[in-house]
Each structure stands twice: as structure tokens, then as C-alpha cells.
Amino acid sequence: MEMIRKKRSDNSLIATYLAIGATVVGVMMIFGILMLLAQGGVLELQPAAFYQFLTIHGTGMIGAAALAGAAVMWYFLRNYVDLSKKIFGLNLLFSLIGIVMVIIGVFSFEYASSWTFLYPLPALSANAWGTIGALLYLVGMLVLGVGFLLMYIDVGRAIIKKYGSLGKGLGWDVISGKKAEADAPPATVVASTMVTIVNVTALTAGATVLIMNIINVINPSFTFDPLLAKNLTYAFGHIFANSIIYMGVIAVYEILPRYTNRPWKANRIFLIAWTMSTSFTLVIYTHHMLMDSVMPKWMLIMGQILSYANGLPVLVITAYGALMIVYKSGIKWDMASGLIFISMFGWTVGVVPAIVDATIVVNHVMHNTKWVPGHFHMYMGLGAVVMIFGFMYFLSKEDSSLKTNLFDRIALICYTLSIIGVSGGFLVSGALSTPRRWATHFPDWMGPAVFGAVSGVLAAISVTIFVIHFIRYMMVRNKGNEGKVFHERKLA
């Protein structure tokens, strides 16, 4: 009973994470819509404003989704290992400070390097922004990174304490046959271990390149090798952005079994898939370098081959597992299980254009077209983010007696269609060779942008409905009249 009460009080911190994350995602969608309207020639927007919107949209989406993803991970992982709530709270605090600095830097000081802050752009803006804006943004990102780094250190510490090492957290002793499959670490632990490994790497690389940029902004006479800077920047950005889906997928592993009363078994193939994706994720950021002919050829070829394979092992094993666990299970479909299932669809569909793009031949044509946002809006917007929304409905159901209504179900359908619309608009633009990150489009390119904007409005409305439901849940549980022993209630 004591345990349950403690967990319930931790839930309020988790809910805060999710409420902030989902709200920011919704607000960032508005900036996305404004960008599309500007590109579509409907809205008069100064290019400077467009690039500020681009910067805040990219940074905000990745930051907010990562926060919410961390909450999903933390919620389930605490059942297996001993996590520090203090550090989890600290991460939220640092993230909020970082976000505020980034917002001030972008909107008050017109900083607009896009979220990839590629060296030497932060210092060389041709006076589009000044030192203060760049410093606010870069230091803000650093502060954000400090919070996340602390959290992953704590997660890693807890996993090592319980399982002995990160290798064992990935189940290497089961893979090697030293331990029986039945004793394999739970799927949640495996995924959390993977995310810890790749994100500690990403954040350490990110800290190096952020401080480098800060030095360069303060004193431009200190210059650095731009190619190494690009490598480190994408090692940070690519990995960190990718990690979101690997935190979100924990919701799939935990929620579907509860709905079907079938366990999600981490068998040997599952473990191998996760280990493969761990190592691929660490090296395939090189696909961002395919245009850099100075990179060693072997690295680029590796980047290409592994890009085909990057998320694929985990995706295949998870999609297959999800189908198997649902198949003839008599699962009851509601908002949570529905969203979780859709997220698997979004993830799968979103990966296909990525694989096409990762081919060097295609990449020379498609890279830097809107094809690229086309693929990642699909797997982020309809994959990772939907896992988070699904978890939010799961939490509100498990932790309160709040019911969903017709609006929620309509929002689910609208959201799915609208993200397909947004991503489809991008993909069509890409096929028309529309460059990405261009504030203004030729008339030929405008159609898909306007279509995307209209779809985007629908998405933003749907997210608003999701958020309203979640806020209502937070209000209900704050009233404290949820005294029932909720965990004994069966979902299935």
C-alpha cells in the first residue's frame, strides 16, 4: 500500500512531464502550419521570421518529445530498477530553464540557425542575429543537455546496480547462451539500456560541440575543423532525435500486454535486434554526410548500408511482436490501445522513405529536398509522438476513473489522417524537388505546402483534444478522490 501511494505521488511528476511535452508539441505545430502557409504563398512572412519558426519548431519538437518520451520510460522502468525521483525532477527543471533560454534567444534575439546549429553558422549570421542570441540558444541547449545527461546517468546506474552491467541490461548473457531466455531482462530494461548508451554518447558529443560553438561565438578567432564539427553535431542531433522512438516504444511493450493479458517476452532474437539497433544508431549519423565528398569513402558506404538496417531490427521485431500479441487476443480497443497500434503503423510506414533516401544515388537527388521532412514527420508524428499520446490515455485510464468521449475518438482518426496529409504533402514536394528549409517557394511548389498546412490545422486541433483530456485527468487526480486501489483494476 505504501508502495502504491509513493508511485501515485510520482505519477504527478510524470504527468507534468507529459502535459508540458504534449502542449509544446501542439504549440510547435502552429509554427509548422505558419511555415507551410508562408511557403504556400498564403501568408506574408519575413524570411527572418520563417527561420526563427524553423529553429523553434525543430528544437521544440525534439525537446518536447524527448521529455515526454523520458516520462514514458521512467514510468515503466521504475517497476524494475531503483530510480532517483530527485534527478528525474531535476531533469525537468533543467529542461525548462533551457527551453526558456532557447525561446528568448530565438524570439527576442532573432537567433535562427535551425536546430542543428551547424558550425560556423552560430557565429557567422551576416548580422541576422547577434552574440547574445547565439549564446542564449547554445547555452540553453547545454543546460537542457545537462538535465538529460543526469537522468541517463541515473538510469544507467540503476540498471548496472540491478543487472550488473549495461551489456547484461541488453541481455548479452542470454544472447551468448550463459543465461536462459526465461531470465532475460524485461523489454523495458533492454530499451532503456539502449537509450542510455546512445544518449550518453550523444550528449557528451553534443556538449563538446556546443562548447566549441560557444567559444567560437565569443571569440571568432578560435576556429575549428568544420567537418569534425559536422560529425559531432549530427552524432548528437541524429542520435538524440532517434532515441525518442526507442523510449516511446516502451509504451508498446508495456501497454499491449496489459490489454491482451499476454506477456511480451524478450527472447533471444528480440535481444539481438536491440543490440544491433544500438550499435547502428551510434554510427549511422554518417548518412547526414553523404554530400560531403571529403569524408572517407568507407565511412559513407557504411553509413548507407547501416541506414538500411538502422532501426529495422527493432522495428521488425516490435511490429511482428505487436501483431502476434494482438492476434486473436480479444483485445479491447480504446484510445490507448488504438493509438499504440497506430504508432506501429506510423513507424513502419515512415521508415520506408528513409531507406529510399539513405541510398547514395537517390540521396544526391533527394537530400535537402522536402522528402526528408516527409519521412521524419511520418515516423515522428505518427510513430514516436503517438506512442506518447497513447501512453497519456493509458495513464489517465489506469490512474483515474476519467472516461474518454466521442471527441477523443474523432481526434484519433483526425490526427492519423492529418499527419498522413502533412507527411504526404512533404513527400510530394520532395518528389517535385522542392528544397527543404526554403522560406519562399516557386508557384509550382506551393500546392502541397498549402495542403500540408490545412492538414496541419487538423492535427493541431486533435492534439488540443488529447491535451484537454489529459489536463482533465490531472485535475481529477489532484482532487484526491481517487482513493481506490487502482492497480487491481483490469484493463482487459
Binding site: 550518453v200 558529443a205 556538449a207 575543423d225
Partner: protein, 184 residues
Amino acid sequence: MRPGILGILLYGILLLPPIIGLLEGQMILHMLVQLPLLIFSGWLCGAAILRRMPNYRAKWNGNGIPGILVIVFITTYWMLPRAMDESLVFWQVELFKFIGLPFAGLCLRDSWPKIKLVGKSFLFLNYLSMFALMAWLYIDAPVQICNNYAAQEQQLLGWGFLFITATMIIYLVQMVFTDQSEST
């Protein structure tokens, strides 16, 4: 020999003018030998000194974090290339070096056992990325950064930092991938 005496001895040796001349004559020796040895001397003397002032320790450095902050500030300062330069030119900076760094070592002695594993790991990773940055800065800089040292020495120092960074990475990887369940 008791560590305290060893520390004083080490400090004394580091103070000898010929040793100062030798270590400060080469950039890499200055940064990666003299500065760390000064910290080490403070750390060696630490136990004996700290034993005599338990109240101060509890009052000022109860949880170890103030001490760690002192260390971070002092060591970060000495990572600035101009700090090394100035210590050769201004006696005040040289004095600060010979007092500040042993003091950092003393703080290290007091703070390290007090901070939690998460804090230790965080510090470790921070120094890891700082050292990587130093390696990058010194190897890559197209200009001579310090007035008193040639560009070539600067590069050598960069490689020294790279070596340290690589060692830290190897240490980290073997720590997290070998079984820790017996030892802790």
C-alpha cells in the same frame, strides 16, 4: 612514508626553480605534468590537513558540492590557453597557480567521497567532453594560441589531451560493460 609528507615533498620539488623552468619550458609538460602534479600534492596532503579541521568541513562542504564547484572553476580556468601564458608573465598568476591547484586537490580529497555516484559520473563525462574539446582546439587551431609556445608544441599538447580522452573512454566502456555486481 606518510602521504602528507610525500605531498609536501612533491610540492617542494615542484617549487624548485630548475624544475619550474623544466616543466614550464614545454607546453605539454606545463599543462599535463605540472598542473596535475600540483593538484596531486594538495590531494596527498589533504588527509592530514582535513583531519585537523572537521568543523570547517562539515560547515562548508557538507555534501561535497561546494568543493567540487571550486575544483571545476579552478581547473576550467587552467584549461584556458591564456591562463598558461599569463602564468609565465605575471607573478600573481603564477602564485595563484601554486596556491589554487593544491587547494583544488585538497577539495578533491574532501569532496570526492561525499558526492554520489551520479555526481561522479556526471563530472567524469564533463571532463571527458572538455578534454576532447581541448584536444580538438590544440590540434586543429591554425594559429599559435599562446605567445610563449610554438604552434608545434601546441599540437603535441593536443595529442596529449586526445590520449587522455581516449583513455577515459576506454575506462568508461569497460566500467559499464563488465559486471559490477560483485564489486559494489
